[in-house]
């Protein structure tokens, strides 16, 4: 995201407590918003406070959130991947084709995740290997990956999946807790540990804060970025397995526009689009906020495209608020 670097660069002497306090307050604020929406929804619709309805509501965000975890790391490192939704489509198409050929469920999962891995590697090679700007590269690969789906499928659809394949998107681990929700929690913990408790996570922050300094500190910037693109591709593959299993069919237009929602989720979670700051906890709460908003609006019979106005506004407003707040603070 080289176009973002402004002519003025501020490098803090140390990552002071001020930053962490600001971040903490952002997550607390977001959590408050989630609670507010929850309370509002339960008053607005009598169908909201029902364990099964709420369980259904989690499907609104679990798949997107899986990608958002990996995307958060990528954005913190100062890159972006707009091809994730197209990777879902390509992975789903690959699984569909394999299912028609009679491949069983384990094979399908491997193919789905493998497709994501290959796509992620391709993005990573272009961005980290050839040092190209990730925005344009992934706009190109977004068109390429979904384009391949269109070549394979045209206006057709795949629909014949084995019965056991339905578990990933429709199965329940216990009571109302779906497999997807359990996977979402598990992945949240994995990515939380990866970002906040490993060397790799620190390197991601350093690269995002000052790539120049990261290089001089001996951090293998290109390798880290490549791994992040791989991870994002794999997570898009995992999301594709879940989504395809849930829908039970594949069209080339599957998950259209999800890249925007994933980026919105990441940014809403307090991850700086300029890189260098953000937490997985924030992304988790943002996932709940977005899920609750869309579910609540859905219960109120708001059409999907109008919901997207709210998502767009949410994106801009959540980024604008801290900027305006900082501006006011600077003035006083």
């Amino acid at each position: 995201m080289s176009d973002i670097a402004s002519s003025k660069r501020v490098i803090p002497d140390r990552l002071g407590s001020k930053t962490s306090r600001l971040l903490a307050s952002w997550e607390v604020l977001l959590f408050g918003v989630a609670v507010l929406i929850f309370v509002f929804n339960s008053f607005a619709s009598p169908y909201f406070l029902n364990a099964w309805n709420l369980s259904d509501a989690t499907f609104n965000f679990t798949e997107k959130a899986m990608i958002a975890f990996a995307m958060a790391l990528l954005v913190i490192a100062g890159e972006i991947d707009l091809s994730v939704a197209a990777i879902i489509a390509l992975a789903s198409t690959a699984m569909g084709a394999a299912a028609q050929a009679g491949i069983g469920t384990p094979g399908l999962v491997a193919i789905g995740i493998g497709t994501g891995l290959v796509c992620g590697a391709f993005n990573g090679l272009l961005v980290a290997g050839l040092r190209l700007p990730s925005i344009v590269v992934t706009i190109g690969t977004m068109s390429l990956f979904r384009g391949i789906s269109y070549i394979v499928l045209g206006d057709q659809a795949y629909g014949k999946y084995p019965a056991s394949f339905a578990y990933f998107g429709q199965g329940y681990v216990a009571w109302v807790f779906s497999f997807e929700f359990a996977l979402f929690i598990l992945l949240a913990m994995v990515f939380g540990i990866l970002l906040h408790a490993t060397n790799f996570g620190r390197q991601v922050y350093v690269i995002g804060n000052n790539e120049f300094a990261a290089r001089f500190s001996g951090i293998p910037v290109e390798r880290v970025k490549f791994i992040l693109f791989l991870l994002t591709g794999v997570m898009a593959g995992v999301a594709s397995v879940c989504l395809t299993s849930r829908l039970g069919s594949t069209r080339p237009s599957i998950a259209q526009g999800w890249e925007l929602e994933v980026v919105t989720m990441v940014v809403l979670g307090g991850v700086s689009i300029l890189g260098g700051a953000g937490t997985i906890a924030g992304v988790v709460i943002a996932a709940f906020v977005m899920g609750l908003v869309t579910f609540g609006l859905g219960l109120l019979n708001v059409p999907g495209i109008v919901m997207s106005i709210f998502v767009g506004l949410l994106l801009i407003i959540t980024i604008a608020i801290p900027i305006i707040a900082r501006r006011i603070k600077e003035m006083s």
């Binding site: 080289s2 190109g140 689009i273």
Partner: protein
């Protein structure tokens, strides 16, 4: 650097000529002047939008909301025409440009005053504007029989052998060339993208320049809204969905650096024509139109690789710094 850019344009012209020659061996009459004029006319809207996109990209920004802007403005103009058939066309066109410029100004203001990264702003407004098109129309369509004959026919009217739509594109190409190479705004756009720090020291207001670039892009998107609706004789929420990527693709193919500051009007036009020729050739040579998306994708990726190589020759810092882009001398 200047010579390199000239090479890019010559190179693209040669590639397009070779492509046309190749296609005409497969399909008789592909290279006939009449067909080439058709392709140009078919690509006119893309050319207009690509020039707006180029202005924005020059300032180190990107405008992903152009297609949504087009859809909203097209819907607004079509509905106005359907509701008040007596309004003169000139007024409707002014209205289209005005609405488009206003939507562009919203983008520009958020980028300028709040310094929100352009990609985030326009990703957000992309969904908002298209959602507004839905709210405006209630999901309905405006069909050909609801539009007035003047509204539909003016862009198709032939003048000196070319439809007015083509002439509008030609005028805008000339206008863009004049504005970007002969007016202070053009210099400011190149400077604020090429080297923001130097631009500030030279007394250029980068934020204001970006704002103006977004207004220009929005105004051209608005005009395209009318042209699109009139050309295809229908307005609905999803018109030109995903077209913003084609405009970026045209710019990237045309050698406009996504890092800002580098590129020419000729390049953007040739980039758009390159995509236009491919789009028109696919059905003629019997390739499924579904392949077009993948082909655009490959072309974008190749163009980015190619651009990066061309730019790197200008002398790149070994340890890349995101802030310090090389000065293209």
């Amino acid at each position: 650097m200047n010579r390199l850019l000239k090479n890019r344009e010559i190179l693209l012209t040669v590639i397009i000529a070779v492509m046309i020659a190749g296609f005409s061996t497969r399909a008789q009459g592909f290279a006939a002047p009449g067909n080439l004029a058709n392709i140009f006319n078919d690509t006119s809207i893309l050319i207009i939008l690509a020039l707006g996109q180029m202005t924005v990209i020059l300032t180190k920004s990107i405008d992903l909301s152009v297609a949504a802007n087009l859809a909203f403005t097209g819907m607004a103009v079509a509905m106005t025409n359907a509701a008040y058939p007596d309004l003169p066309l000139a007024l409707l066109i002014v209205m289209a440009i005005g609405i488009g410029a206003f939507l562009g100004a919203i983008n520009g203001y958020l980028v300028w005053a709040l310094r929100i990264p352009p990609i985030v702003v326009t990703l957000g407004t992309l969904t908002i504007y298209r959602g507004m098109a839905f709210v405006l129309s209630g999901g309905g369509w405006v069909n050909a029989h609801q539009m007035g004959p003047t509204f539909l026919n003016v862009p198709r009217m032939p003048v000196l052998g070319l439809p007015i739509l083509s002439w509008i594109a030609i005028l805008i190409v000339l206008g863009a060339w004049f504005v970007l190479t002969r007016l202070p705004f053009g210099r400011a756009a190149y400077a604020s993208g090429g080297n923001p720090t130097a631009a500030i020291y030279a007394g250029i207001d980068i934020g204001w320049t970006k704002f103006l670039a977004f207004v220009v892009s929005g105004a051209l998107a608005g005009l395209s809204g009318y042209l699109w609706v009139s050309r295809y004789a229908v307005a609905y929420v999803d018109i030109a969905a995903g077209f913003e990527l084609d405009t970026v693709a045209a710019c990237v193919i045309g050698g406009i650096s996504i890092a800002g500051g580098i590129g020419s009007v000729g390049g953007a036009v040739l980039g758009a024509l390159f995509l236009g020729v491919i789009k028109n050739a696919l059905p003629v040579i019997g390739i499924s139109p579904f392949a077009q998306m993948a082909i655009s994708g490959i072309v974008i990726v190749l163009a980015v690789v190619f651009n990066a190589r061309a730019e790197r020759k200008a002398g790149r810092i070994i340890l890349r710094d995101r802030g310090a882009k090389e000065v293209s001398a």
